[in-house]
Structures are given as C-alpha cells and as structure tokens.
C-alpha cells in the first residue's frame, strides 16, 4: 500500500466512488474540513503513531474515506482508533483539515455503521 511500507497489496480494482462516508464525516463537528485535504502527507510524516505502526496512516485514512473505497475503509477499523489525539498532524496541516478530528469522525462513523 502506498504509504504503508512493507505491506503487500492484494489484487483489487476500484469500480466506483462513494461519497456517503465523506458526507457523514463532513457533518461531524470535527470533520468539517475534510474536503480541504490535498493528500500532501504532512500529517503522516508528523505522526508519532505512524512512525511505530505502518498500518496507521492519517493521509491514507482521509483519502479512502473521501473516495469511499470500501475495502480500505474496512481495513481501517483495526487501526484508526490508535490515534492518540496528540494534535501534531493538525499543527502541520497546511490546509486546516484537522486530521486528528477527521480520524475521530471517521472512527465514530465506522462505529455507528457497525452497531
């Protein structure tokens, strides 16, 4: 996976874009600026959790949620809650996305969908 170094990508093809998760994240109090993300990767570069755990990648979570890549969103369930909300990503984000807040919003939406 791009940005998930050392992991093997299984064959898969993206057949559709689905922005329903994006709309839910946007409606969350902390996810309103998710649309600003331009995938620069400042958040992941600054993230202390990503440094230790290659499956945790804030940039990637935001992108998969925005485009509604179902398989990728499913994979996130295991790791998105590892965010410590330290706020380093929010501090370095050039577009004011608040990645830590967006991850909180994505986590909430995934949890809601499960229950």
């Amino acid at each position: 996976m791009s940005g998930r170094w050392g992991l093997i990508v299984l064959p898969r093809t993206i057949n559709d874009f689905d922005h329903s998760l994006l709309e839910m994240v946007k409606a969350h109090p902390k996810g309103g600026h998710v649309g600003n993300c331009w995938q620069c990767g400042n958040c992941t570069a600054a993230c202390p959790v990503a440094e230790k755990n290659p499956t945790f990648n804030p940039r990637y979570f935001i992108y998969a949620a925005k485009m509604g890549y179902e398989q990728e969103v499913k994979k996130m369930k295991e790791s998105i809650y590892l965010c410590t909300s330290c706020g380093r990503c929010t501090e370095v984000c050039p577009k004011g996305v608040d990645p830590s807040g967006v991850m909180e919003a994505i986590g909430t939406m995934i949890r809601k969908a499960r229950s």
Partner: protein, 354 residues
C-alpha cells in the same frame, strides 16, 4: 516622411498578444499592418469562445472587447484578415514584405520598419493519442470545446442530457515523451476553472480531476483551493490507460496512485485537458522570416530568458509562439514587443534613411 520611424510595423497574428502589440503601437502614433490568417480577429479566446478567464473568473469580453474594438476602429491599424506573410526581404528597419490573401486572393507589397510575430498556438489534437478515444467515442471532448458549451450555458452529452459524473483528464498531449514533453502551464488552471463553472451550471454533477501534478502557478492556486474547499471537486492522482465506450457510458481505466490500485469507473462525460503546441502558422512564419525554432517547434528567442528578441534583428516575438502562457502574460508580451519595435524604429531611423 520616409524615415524608418514613419514606416509601419507588421504584426503577424491577431490574437491577444498581436492585438495588444498593434494597439500599443497605434497609440504611439505608429502605423500598423496586422495580418491574421483566419477570417476574424481575436485568436484563441474568440475562436474557442472563452467565457470566463482564470483566475478571477472575469468575463473574457472585459479583456477582448476593448482590444478588438480599439484595433478595428483605429485608423492607423490596417487589418488584413484571411491573409498570410508570403515573403520578406531587405534590411532590418526597411523590410519589404509581401502579404498574400488566402485562396488565391492576390498579393500586396509593403515596406515596414520591423515585424512583431505573435502566431500563437494550437491545442494538441487528442486523436494522436488513441487511449483517450477522442474522435471515436461520444462525450469525449477537449477543454477548448467545453469552453464554447459553457459559454452557451448548455453542457450536455450527445444525447442532449446533462452529465451526472464527469472526469477531467489532465496533461493530455503534455509532459509525455510520446507526444509533447513540455508543460502547457495553463491547462490545470483552465480545467479547474471549467469544473467550477460546470458545478455552478449543473448543481448535482460529480466531478473528478484525474491529474499527475496540479500546476496552478502563482495566484491561480486560489482556483485549486476553492475547487476543493467550496465546490467539493474530487481529485484523483493517477494516469488514464484507456477510455472505452460501453454503448451507454464511458469506462475510464487508470490507476489511483494514492491507494496504489487500478480503477475502472463509469463516467457520462470525459473532458481532456489538451495541451498547447505550436501551430502550422508558427512553422510557416519561421521559414518565411528566417527565424529559428527550438527543439519543441516554438520560435526561439535570441536569449532564452528574453522572449521579445528573435534571432533576427528587427523581428520581435510575443505570446504563445514562444512558449505556452496565459492571456495576461500574452498581453504583457504584446506590449513588450510594441515597445521593442518602437525603440528599434527610433534607433535605426537616422541610419536607414529610406
């Protein structure tokens, strides 16, 4: 009076930079002969019916309207439409030029002190790169064609229906060894501007910009930010391998490099951000005037960082025939060329003594 300062200046090309050069020269009381190969003045903005200009989305008429009316009404500018420069000889400061009329319309001979070449550009012909199915599949159009549709306020597919999902493919015929290796510099900004206009026109349209890099230079960057932040336009980083017409929709195959996965997604319309390349007129004028072309087919200035000066004395360059550029830059280059021609006429006037 027959000094070089009183001879007219020949301007080749009636687009933004040619018009600006002609107008500035006329306002400095210099006679101008303006030669345009097409039947109308205005160049690309008029030919392709530009609606709004990047980056502030101002109507193109605000720029082109006064320019066109001033040139056409100025008694010092003699406009030759449907015409071309057939021959040029004599010394700089007192060139003899032969102007031909298209389709055997005869020739006229004129004396000019200097020449401003502003032959502009052509859009890349996307049929050359078959993976985009341009010219074969319906609903695959170029950004140049979309401009006219936006101007009419009616963006529809071949069936007359407004598209629900549209892909813009960036860098078509640009930054590619197989076609043109240079960046056309404006197509990112123009495509994003058009996407914003399309979103305003068709409220429920979903827009996907498939790019390899977004190059909205300088303050055009605002367009890029606004398109994401205010208009919710989606960006997919990757290249397209194939556009295939299923009979109902366009299947776009490519790779999303941000998730390292191939995509095969259906679209109603595909807009190709076709690049800028030198047209046949530029090649022809280089032959007629003895100017050098660079390895990309653009007119080579004497010094790569000083566009105005051509490789020949008394001949000046302006606009997209030198390198791809925006309208604002073309206008500035037109003015610069007018200034260079004026300076030159004053410098050689006492020496030529015609």
């Amino acid at each position: 009076m027959t000094m070089a300062e009183n001879l007219p200046v020949l301007v080749v090309g009636g687009g933004p930079s040619g018009l600006k050069a002609a107008l500035d020269l006329a306002e400095l009381d210099t006679k101008v002969i303006l030669v345009e190969k097409r039947g109308e003045l205005g160049g690309a903005p008029i030919r392709w019916k530009y609606k709004l200009l990047a980056p502030e989305l101002r109507p193109s008429e605000e720029v082109m309207g006064p320019l066109l009316s001033s040139v056409e009404s100025n008694p010092l500018v003699s406009v030759h439409k449907d015409s071309f420069v057939d021959a040029c000889d004599g010394p700089a400061g007192n060139f003899r030029v032969v102007i031909g009329k298209n389709e055997g319309g005869g020739f006229v001979e004129r004396r000019v002190s200097s020449i401003v070449v502003a032959t502009g550009f052509e859009h890349f012909d996307a049929r050359v790169d078959p993976r985009y199915s341009y010219g074969r599949a319906p609903n695959v159009i170029g950004i140049n064609e979309l401009e006219g549709m936006l101007k009419e306020g009616r963006v529809v597919g071949h069936d007359g229906k407004a598209p629900k999902r549209v892909a813009f493919i960036f860098c078509v015929g640009s930054r590619d060894r197989a076609t043109n290796p240079w960046c056309c510099t404006v197509c990112c900004g123009v495509s994003i501007k058009q996407a914003i206009e399309m979103k305003e026109l068709i409220k429920d349209v979903q827009l996907y910009m498939i790019y390899m890099d977004i190059r909205t230079m300088g303050q055009w960057e605002k367009l890029y930010w606004d398109s994401m932040e205010k208009y919710g336009i989606n960006y997919i980083r990757g290249r397209v391998a194939e556009v295939y017409w299923t009979g109902e929709k366009l299947l776009v195959k490519g790779e999303d490099t941000l998730v390292r996965g191939p995509f095969e997604v259906l679209f109603d319309m595909v807009v190709l951000a076709v690049g800028i390349e030198p047209g046949p007129g530029t090649k022809k004028i280089a032959g007629t005037l003895g100017l050098q072309l660079n390895e990309n087919g653009f007119l080579a200035p004497r010094h790569p960082n000083i566009h105005t000066e051509s490789t020949r004395e008394g001949i000046f360059l302006a606009g997209c025939c030198v390198t791809p550029m925006s309208i604002e830059e073309s206008l500035a280059e037109g003015s610069a060329a007018a200034m260079a021609a004026t300076k030159f006429a004053r410098k050689v006037a006492p020496k030529v003594g015609v």
